[in-house]
């Protein structure tokens, strides 16, 4: 798994590539939590290039969402791959996250 982070105005975008499983999810959670700690609270998680995600990845996302909501921010999901969409649906999380079909739409939503 790789993560790449950049800013567009007040929005912080984290793009994830590869596998998000129990081996790599802690790294994703750390990357996201560091942004929240740095008071970056308008987050977009771009999951277009995620080839695989298990419940460990969902736990990292939910944990970050709870942390950022506490400081009146949000974690919005952009362009999830089919596999990510399926695990979100299976976990009942499709309605918990704001999900956008493109990164641009997710950034503009703030």
């Amino acid at each position: 798994m790789q993560t790449a982070h950049h800013e567009e105005g007040t929005v912080s975008i984290v793009a994830v590539t590869g596998r998000v499983d129990s081996s790599t999810a802690p790294e994703l959670e750390t990357a996201l939590k560091k942004l929240v700690e740095a008071e970056k609270t308008q987050l977009v998680l771009d999951l277009k290039e995620v080839e695989y995600m298990s419940s460990a990845g969902l736990r990292a996302m939910v944990s970050t969402l709870k942390a950022v909501k506490r400081v009146n921010g949000d974690l919005r999901v952009a362009s999830p791959s089919d596999r990510v969409n399926e695990v979100l649906r299976l976990a009942g999380l499709s309605s918990i996250f704001a999900i956008y079909s493109t990164r641009e739409e997710a950034v503009k939503s703030y």
């Binding site: 596998r19 499983d21 129990s22 081996s23 695989y52 298990s54 419940s55 460990a56 969902l58 736990r59 939910v62 969402l65 709870k66 909501k69 596999r83 399926e86 695990v87 299976l90 976990a91 009942g92 999380l93 309605s95 918990i96």
Partner: protein, 137 residues
């Protein structure tokens, strides 16, 4: 045809286990989505063994056995951890109405039951055996 892979109980072995199961699923002529379901189920099963069974990494091994037949893959996962009783596993809330309502624990077992045709736990030979079956639709 039967293939077996034994790995140390570590999260960095999950990808190798998924690849092993993928090859077996392809030999069983399962479809792309069915193969993805096998990968997810096996990943969640092995993660549960490491996290809840062994209580951490590098405590014990995990043996993954794939029995390949045309249109059907039977995966058996064996560990030497303490007995696991699925009846006592926490159930996730998969219809949360709010973030406060959300309980994320127990998703692994829920995923296995959602995506596989058969999920069966037993305790034998000093360890847990989980049988997962996926059939081509």
């Amino acid at each position: 045809m039967v293939r077996t892979l034994t790995v140390p109980g570590r999260y960095d072995q999950l990808e190798a286990v998924c690849q092993f199961v993928t090859v077996a699923a392809e030999l069983a002529e399962l479809g792309e989505k069915e193969i993805a379901h096998c990968q997810l189920a096996v990943d969640e099963a092995c993660t549960n063994v490491i996290e809840h069974g062994y209580g951490g990494e590098n405590v014990g091994n995990i043996e993954v056995r794939c029995e390949v037949a045309p249109g059907i893959l039977t995966i058996t996962i064996h560990d030497s951890a303490r007995p696991f009783d699925p009846a006592h596993a926490p159930a996730p809330n998969v219809a949360p109405t709010s973030l406060d309502d959300l309980r994320i624990g127990g998703l692994g077992l829920h995923f296995m039951r959602q995506v596989m045709d058969e999920v069966q736990f037993s305790y034998e030979n000093g360890g847990n055996t989980l049988k997962l079956v996926k059939q081509k639709k």
